[in-house]
Symmetry: C2
Amino acid sequence: MTNPETLATLGENEALRRTVSRLKKSENTIVGSGDDAAVVKTSNNRFVVTTDTMIEGHDFNTEWSNAFDLGWKAVATNISDVAAMGAKPTALVVALAVPKETEITWLEHFADGLQAAIDYFAPTAEIVGGDLAQSQQIVIAVTAHGDLEGREPILRSGAKPGDILAVAGTLGQAACGLSLLQSGNQDAISAYDDWVNIQTRPMPPIQAGIDAFEATSMLDISDSLAKDAHRIAKASNVKLTINKQALDGYCARIDDVAARLDLNAIDWVLFGGEDHSLLATFPAGASIPRSFKPIGTVEAGEGVYLDSNPLDARGWDATLSTSQ
Amino acid sequence: MTNPETLATLGENEALRRTVSRLKKSENTIVGSGDDAAVVKTSNNRFVVTTDTMIEGHDFNTEWSNAFDLGWKAVATNISDVAAMGAKPTALVVALAVPKETEITWLEHFADGLQAAIDYFAPTAEIVGGDLAQSQQIVIAVTAHGDLEGREPILRSGAKPGDILAVAGTLGQAACGLSLLQSGNQDAISAYDDWVNIQTRPMPPIQAGIDAFEATSMLDISDSLAKDAHRIAKASNVKLTINKQALDGYCARIDDVAARLDLNAIDWVLFGGEDHSLLATFPAGASIPRSFKPIGTVEAGEGVYLDSNPLDARGWDATLSTSQ
């Protein structure tokens, strides 16, 4: 039996070549990998850009997430920020640093995860550049770009009294999956693998963001519904009230798991992070896209309320991004 | 005496806020830090993008480079890749991961180094987004963007027989500085600090890249004159001949240091990396910008020659970038 090829045995250039060769080309790209920089086309003279880093031991561990999962998650979480601006994801650059004993098959599966997420969420997008380096722990830094296609960017600061608060995507399922993994209860993990999968391979509603062109404000729920609602309330200088009953459907999907782990589903829905769903506000008369579900209202004032009770800005805070 | 504030004691959000507050805003930026993503303006519908990672222990060590140096170098080396496409640097995103005991003053000096390099090389550019995370070793991943302002990108693949080979910027000085640092000879390091500074705070000829719009090919010399000349020869399917005598001026500047360290200046000029100078080819009739010095010729054939002798593709290979 031969030893597996590693970054150290195969060499860095060959390792990178093998990894990049698994990625597809797109029509947006005028110049791709192989020169000093890539050249990317936009449909107008503005582009959207965001960056996010995932670090082993802080943002993930390799016991719960395999290489494919990490590639998928790196793409999904970054293009979610692009979609939260109302833009269509177009181009990504990926900087990856791994220990030198990392097997080449790990790099290949990582590339497959990147490409699978692009195929699923943004088939016209492409990875246009990358960097591979050696480090003590795995570090994944992705920069994602988007095209506004002539639309105005949708910020956090545009919510107005009278607007409707709505959400697209899952709520609490990623936190539920994390609790399952943390429980170490293999029977429960296996029984509820759909929720574990949302944690390791998030499913952000990318098209919903692009469809939400009538939204007055929007953001990507990375930390928690509560915490990110506070971000809109503060940036827009408004009061948000979440209708607790409107969250029943989200709780219903995770109630069984919560009971099994002796936890409360509503805590995951309100304070759980990493669903990468979209929270947006729409004018009362707007046609809200079908993928968005109304969950509350916008009024003059400040703060976030669950029915008539103030809601704390608690949530997940693993990332320190300026672009949250 | 109070203990210095660290990432751990001050908290990650406050640390990031203090760091970002030291950076200036630019006119290219429609939406900057603070939302899901930034929105950047270009003068036409194309933008240039490149990414590069610097890792403690591999690409730098904190004994030789302070925080300001690292911020400077991270900007300089990345916008050098933008300039090597003939584009004007416009916007950067910076993902930084540091150990949790890192002092806040370190982060502030890093930000000052980023901003100082932008002020010096590209005063109309801006850092539009960032990410701060905890890691075991310092990891700096920068993605830089550029505007072609309506020009065509200058690739590695356009050199034609009959063209003139020319270089802008220093050759061998960064390698000379590295040898000085590696020597541990404090007297020599102090006497020749200009060369050490080129290593720790590179001075890429950014404007030369923007001025080189008549160039048929161009790249950033990150690995070595020899290795990067081979990249142009291979991509353009031509033979490059470097005139050894044309390198005398580059050798003259580092001959004294080479003698003191018992090394050969010509080896630094040919095989030393990290000068981040520009190597380009121009048609025979073109007006070559004054910042470029002709050093050779382009002919039909393949390979790279120093006068009539084949030149090996030896050089620095710390980075594994697909966008080299």
